[in-house]
């Protein structure tokens, strides 16, 4: 009886260890840590460190301004600042300040992709700082507010409630029907 139970446990364990085809190998914790850079709105996965807009201003001037313009107003590349109140006008300006629903997205994106020609070259502190600077330029946080794993997910973006589910098909009924 007892050995039958043990057998069952052993079989269950074996099933937990491999799938049907036994493909793949378990990753090491370091492998997962190195790749798992995505940061959802909950802030889960944000690294240690922190930064303020005051610090970020300097990082921005050196690493970002060339493309995104002075104070994020846009240059060769898109503006990161402005556009509030334009979304329902004929000339909407979608920026981090006017459009983005989550501040965590800003950290996630800068960390993975910016600066454009040298992604991955900023320290976590610098990413927090330049994130803080862009938020401050948009009037969302104050210049000395520290952005960190704890504070960033709590930042409420102005367009947080600006997104709605897909309502399609919203077309697709033929007008002046031609029956087959």
């Amino acid at each position: 009886m007892r050995s039958a139970c043990l057998m069952l446990v052993a079989v269950a364990l074996m099933q937990a260890q491999t799938g049907k085809y036994g493909a793949g190998r378990p990753p090491t914790p370091q492998e997962v840590k190195a790749l798992d850079i995505s940061v959802p709105p909950s802030g889960e996965g944000l690294p240690e460190g922190s930064g303020t807009a005051v610090e970020g201003k300097e990082v921005y001037a050196r690493r970002c301004q060339r493309c995104h313009g002075a104070e994020g107003k846009g240059g060769d590349e898109v503006a990161l600042v402005g556009g509030s109140g334009t979304l329902n006008t004929p000339k909407p300006l979608k920026t981090v300040g006017s459009y983005w629903p989550y501040a965590t997205t800003l950290f996630d994106y800068i960390h993975r992709a910016m600066p454009f020609k040298d992604p991955g070259s900023l320290t976590s502190n610098h990413v927090y700082a330049v994130t803080a600077y862009i938020l401050q330029l948009n009037g969302i946080i104050r210049a000395n507010e520290k952005m960190s794993a704890e504070s960033l997910p709590k930042v409420k973006m102005p367009n947080r409630d600006g997104f709605i589910p897909d309502a399609r098909p919203d077309t697709g009924k033929v007008k002046g029907t031609t029956k087959r």
Partner: protein, 402 residues
């Protein structure tokens, strides 16, 4: 050393380009045709197209060609498949140079057994080949404005269709054992932007492929070599290229490319998010903008139709600017979420007229015109423009945007 050879290559292709333009103006042909009594070229290991064929992707003028797109010359395509070399591109941080021997896919998150797969291991698993289009949701963007695009390539060239070969994502997920709290996946590329998107888990269980093959050979670097997602019928951006990681999660990650970009702004300032599926669309590729009918008389009208909701069931064509419509012949095979070729015999009497096509998919959805689309969404939504595209045939045979 390497630099030098790249430079030579560049100079060579630049002069080839010059030769081609010259040729177009009726100067020197690209290769001498010396008749059938001249011994031809020897066998070769990897074929090139005839030097007379010059169809190419359309490149934009931009300071950041690594974050840009090129367009498929749909007006030159035959049948339903796009040659891999002409498949449209959209990269966010350039095309990475990936060594397949070192490339790995990490599958982790809300799973019982996190796993790492090498390329060889993936290719050993049960695979499938399927024909599907991929279309950037920004395709047809210029059609929101009344002016519209002048030709098929500029109008709709961010769509291509290939046979893709790969492992069903559902198989890999089963290997890892997805936990009951899982609802979404985060898919991430190994390019310099680590392009990432959240995908509902349900779609993975339906038909997503982890693909390594395209049109019978390995994926092209621009198409995600060595590994990409193919998400049938869903907007191009979510078909993550250079796939390096899938994380099983309970909520969407809200990445830049699913919030800042690829969301559809409505007239009231609210934006639709997670607008995945591609609405049905059709386009006449012959005769189309920029082409010229050589003479009055018989011409076969031909074009492409596709839908993210399944098969194309019907394409109607009007040769009188929408007053009357007739059914075009749909060519088999008609695959789900794939280009379908339609054809209609037509005799041009030499007078000015407007040609337009309109498709219906297996869900019963009928392709709208521009006015219907604007009525439903306003003018600010940028993405997912699937309006009908009229072409005006002039009395001299030239064709332009109507």
């Amino acid at each position: 050393m390497k630099k030098g050879s790249n430079r030579r290559k560049f100079l060579f292709s630049a002069s080839l380009g010059a030769a081609m333009t010259g040729c177009r103006q009726g100067e020197k042909p690209a290769a001498e045709d010396e008749g059938p009594n001249r011994l031809g070229k020897p066998v070769s290991e990897y074929g090139d197209r005839s030097p007379h064929e010059k169809s190419k992707r359309l490149k934009p003028e931009t300071k950041t060609p690594e974050a840009a797109s090129t367009r498929t010359p749909l007006q030159d395509s035959y049948g339903i498949l796009t040659p891999a070399a002409l498949h449209f591109e959209r990269h966010h941080s350039g095309v990475p140079a990936i060594d397949p021997a070192r490339h790995q896919l990490l599958l982790h998150g809300l799973v019982d057994r996190p796993l790492v797969f090498g390329m060889d291991e993936l290719k050993r698993l049960p695979s499938v080949s399927r024909i599907h289009f991929v279309e950037c949701s920004g395709n047809g963007r210029s059609e929101w404005s009344a002016k519209g695009a002048p030709d098929a390539q500029r109008s709709q060239g961010l769509a291509s269709c290939s046979e893709w070969t790969g492992v069903p994502l559902s198989l890999l997920l089963a290997e890892a054992g997805v936990q009951s709290s899982a609802k979404w996946l985060l898919a991430e590329g190994g390019d310099a932007s680590k392009m990432s998107r959240s995908i509902p888990l349900q779609k993975a269980n339906e038909d997503i492929l982890v693909a390594y093959g395209q049109n019978g050979e390995a994926l092209r670097p621009e198409q995600g070599y060595p590994l990409r997602l193919v998400v049938p019928g869903w907007e191009g951006n979510i078909n993550v290229k250079w796939l390096r990681r899938i994380k099983v999660v309970d909520e969407p990650v809200m990445t830049k490319d699913e919030t800042s970009k690829y969301t559809d702004l409505m007239a009231d300032g609210k934006a639709r998010i997670f607008t995945f599926v591609v609405d049905a669309k059709s386009l006449i590729t012959y005769p189309s903008g920029g082409q010229k009918l050589a003479a009055k008389g018989f011409h076969e009208i031909s074009g492409l139709a596709w839908s993210g909701r399944g098969k194309i069931e019907r394409v109607e064509v009007s040769t009188d600017g929408g007053k009357s419509w007739v059914n075009a012949r749909l060519e088999e095979p008609r695959h789900r979420m794939a280009f379908t070729r339609f054809r209609l015999p037509w005799t041009w009497d030499g007078s000015e007229t407007v040609l337009v096509s309109r498709c219906t998919d297996e869900s019963g959805y009928v392709q709208p015109d521009r006015a219907q689309l604007i009525e439903a969404r306003g003018m600010n939504s940028d993405y997912h423009n699937n309006a009908t595209k009229p072409w005006q045939v002039m009395a001299d045979g030239s064709v332009k945007n109507a």
